[in-house]
């Protein structure tokens, strides 16, 4: 059953309360849990790893060491950090091309992730996919995908498969605000709602609403800017969360994952967040938004918020935070060094992995090339 009309009217969609984000939308959730100093520090370390890692990838892109497209997660760290905090073994995670953070949070080796971006044979998919196609199946990462919306039906199908096999697993399906206007989303959400009626679709849709799909703001992409409401049509309940506040995301994620796990029915969370970096490393044009807007969101930088909380509560002092930064930076430096020193993939890798076995591949090769 969808959220009641009254609830929507009160909150502008979903059951969110709290301070308005800079663009006037209603984010925030219930009372954020008291996470405790050490736990908060641990979350901070995770977000910092993402931030520092992403900054290193931007530098490497500028140096020409990373090619193709590169989309970083800077500004959005609290979203995946919060939701993947509720990840349990057996769950599956699927997302689009902005996927480095998801891999790092699931425990993928930063060396292998960086090496992938460098196109090295030691990369997490052997240098074959690059930034947009990170996979770590052992850790539940079922991929990054390059075609906007294209991965959404896959996630819904995975959720069915998890129940079919009788597991307790759920799918965390991440999608952008831009992807929700694509037909693939609408067809897949309808299926999820339908299959969920018989408990066969434990999909948690997580909309990373970073306000833009490339240069197009949400307002310029749809007349119904409450993205959670798109799920109403398919009988999927939804809420919003302040995607800049990792504690709020964690509280929401715990509840949302538990209900999806218990019911086998899909649920959706619209995380209100912001991409402070350009869309892709090559897209330097920022004519579609203002400096002031970026700065305004930066004031609620997800890392900054946690730092403040740590300092205010006395859980950490500047010295401790500084030591943590050094530690994370050293880890990322190591990943960069590893990637830089790794060899290119061997040329015969070109022809592997097209089919399950190389013999099948050879059968489809021209006899005379």
């Amino acid at each position: 059953m969808a959220v009641s009309k009254e609830a929507r009217d009160k909150t502008g969609g979903g059951k969110a309360t709290g301070a308005a984000s800079p663009n006037g939308q209603q984010p925030a959730a219930e009372q954020t849990p008291d996470l405790g100093g050490e736990r908060l520090l641990e979350l901070y370390r995770k977000m910092l790893l993402i931030r520092v890692f992403e900054e290193a990838t931007q530098r490497a892109f500028r140096q020409g060491k990373i090619g193709g497209y590169l989309h970083v997660y800077i500004g959005q760290e609290a979203v995946a950090t919060g939701f993947l905090d509720a990840y349990r073994e057996g769950d599956k995670v699927i997302t689009a091309y902005r996927d480095h953070a998801h891999a790092l949070l699931l425990g993928s080796d930063p060396n292998a992730v960086m090496a992938e971006l460098y196109g090295r044979g030691t990369g997490i998919v052997k240098g074959k996919g690059g930034s947009m196609h990170l996979f770590d199946v052992e850790r539940g990462l079922m991929g990054g995908y390059g075609i906007v919306g294209g991965h959404i039906p896959l996630g819904v199908g995975m959720a069915y498969a998890l129940r079919y096999e009788g597991t307790e697993g759920i799918v965390q399906l991440y999608l952008g605000d831009g992807a929700i206007h694509n037909g693939a989303y609408h067809e897949a959400a309808n299926l999820a709602g339908l299959w969920g009626k018989s408990g066969m679709n434990p999909t948690l849709f997580i909309i990373e609403n970073n306000q833009y799909g490339m240069g197009t703001s949400v307002e310029r992409a749809t007349a119904m800017t409450d993205l959670g409401a798109k799920f109403d049509s398919y009988g999927i309940e939804h809420e919003k969360v302040d995607g800049m506040d990792v504690a709020a995301v964690i509280a929401c994620a715990r509840r949302a994952t538990a209900r999806v796990r218990e019911t086998g029915r899909p649920y959706a969370v619209e995380a209100l967040t912001y991409r402070t970096a350009p869309h892709g490393a090559a897209d330097i044009k920022e004519s579609y938004r203002t400096r002031e807007e970026i700065n305004q969101w930066r004031q609620r930088d997800p890392l900054g918020l946690v730092e403040q909380r740590l300092l205010d509560s006395g859980a950490a002092d500047e010295g401790r935070l500084g030591a943590l930064r050094d530690e994370v930076k050293a880890r990322v430096d190591e990943a960069v060094r590893f990637a830089d020193e790794s060899p290119e993939p061997p040329l015969d890798e070109l022809h592997t992995d097209v089919y399950a076995d190389v013999a099948a591949q050879q059968e489809t090769e021209p006899t005379h090339a």
């Binding site: 090619g67 193709g68 497209y69 992938e116 196109g119 090295r120 044979g121 990369g123 240098g127 074959k128 996919g129 690059g130 947009m132 196609h133 995908y145 390059g146 075609i147 906007v148 919306g149 294209g150 831009g178 992807a179 206007h181 694509n182 037909g183 693939a184 799909g213 490339m214 240069g215 197009t216 310029r220 992409a221 749809t222 897209d283 044009k285 004519s287 579609y288 290119e344 993939p345 040329l347 890798e349 070109l350 022809h351 097209v354 591949q361 489809t364 090769e365 021209p366 090339a369």
Partner: protein, 328 residues
């Protein structure tokens, strides 16, 4: 003659035709406020307004279908595919509606639409973002498919495309947007169905389209200087309609041919070239026609693998040697 980049030549064609013909409208993702991710439509929103330069959500099937509907009522939409890789989502509309409407309406409606955007690989975008789709769209009767490679041709063929009464698949050489060439100031058009002899020669014919034409020109230069072999280079430009005459005339002169394509070997444009030659110039051939194609794998990301996946100068030279019986 002034020099323009491929990008600016393309924009000039769009601008001039929009100024000349009020029925021309543009649709696509980030073509207006953002100015186009490849800057082809930069400045056009300011000049022509939001009614004619329509920014769309990421909904290729929807906006391409809507543009086809506009065309059915006489507008002349030019739809930008941010890259042709995203056209698979629109391909149902393109193939099932645009290509066939005239036919299954018994001639009552036409679809004067142009769908354009960058096509082809070479910039490490890996499997989902690297396709060369000439043969796919070229397969369907009802569509016209062109693939210009020079600034001169891209402008002249865009004007032809917009004025054409039928749907045109306009495949741009995305890797070459920044390259320059001569483009006259006065209006001109370049017809469809006419290949271009990009370099004349008498010893062997090298045939391709799109950015591979530049590869062939480099190869021809090497063959000339290093081995005194004079290669003729044919730029097909137009895939459907397909210019058999220019190919056949050249092969009758050189008696040897190599067809090159970035796309996969099986069922590709080069196969069509080879078939036409054996049908119409069999008796003139001194060697079997050779094809050089992309490796039969989805495009890899790593630089060295990607390089190995596309035709190289050396592969083309080896193929030329084979048809010239100069192996080894």
């Amino acid at each position: 003659m002034p020099e323009l980049t491929y990008r600016n030549a393309l924009r000039a064609a769009l601008t001039e035709e929009m100024a000349r013909d009020e029925s021309v409208v543009l649709l696509g993702e980030d073509i207006g406020v953002y100015g186009g991710t490849h800057l082809i439509t930069q400045g056009l929103l300011d000049r022509f307004g939001a009614k004619r330069v329509i920014d769309t959500p990421i909904a290729e099937g929807g906006f391409t279908g809507a543009a086809i509907g506009m065309a059915m009522l006489g507008l002349r939409p030019v739809v930008e595919m941010m890259t042709w890789n995203f056209s698979f989502l629109a391909s149902d509309q393109i193939i099932q509606n645009a290509a066939k409407l005239r036919y299954f309406s018994g001639g009552q409606v036409g679809v004067p639409i142009v769908i354009r955007g960058p096509n082809g690989g070479g910039v490490q975008l890996s499997a989902q973002h690297t396709h060369s789709l000439e043969n796919l769209y070229g397969h369907f009767p009802g569509l016209k498919v062109v693939s210009p490679v020079t600034p001169y041709d891209v402008k002249g063929m865009m004007l032809t495309a917009i004025r054409d009464p039928d749907p045109v698949i306009f495949l741009e050489a995305g890797a070459l947007y920044g390259t320059k060439g001569e483009v006259p100031e006065e209006e001109y058009t370049v017809p469809f169905g006419k290949a271009r002899v990009a370099r004349e020669g008498k010893d062997v014919t090298l045939i391709s389209y799109g950015r591979q034409v530049n590869l062939l020109l480099r190869v021809a230069e090497r063959l000339a200087t290093e081995e005194d072999v004079q290669a003729e280079v044919i730029d097909l430009r137009s895939i459907r309609p397909f210019d058999e005459e220019t190919i056949v005339a050249s092969v009758k002169k050189t008696n040897r041919a190599v067809a090159v394509q970035e796309q996969w070997r099986f069922f590709g444009v080069a196969s069509e070239v080879a078939a036409v030659i054996q049908e119409r110039a069999f008796d003139y051939l001194d060697a079997p026609v050779e094809r050089v194609s992309g490796a039969e794998v989805p495009a890899p990301y790593a630089r060295n693998l990607e390089e190995a996946a596309f035709p190289s100068e050396q592969q083309v030279i080896d193929a030329a040697h084979r048809v010239l019986y100069r192996e080894g």
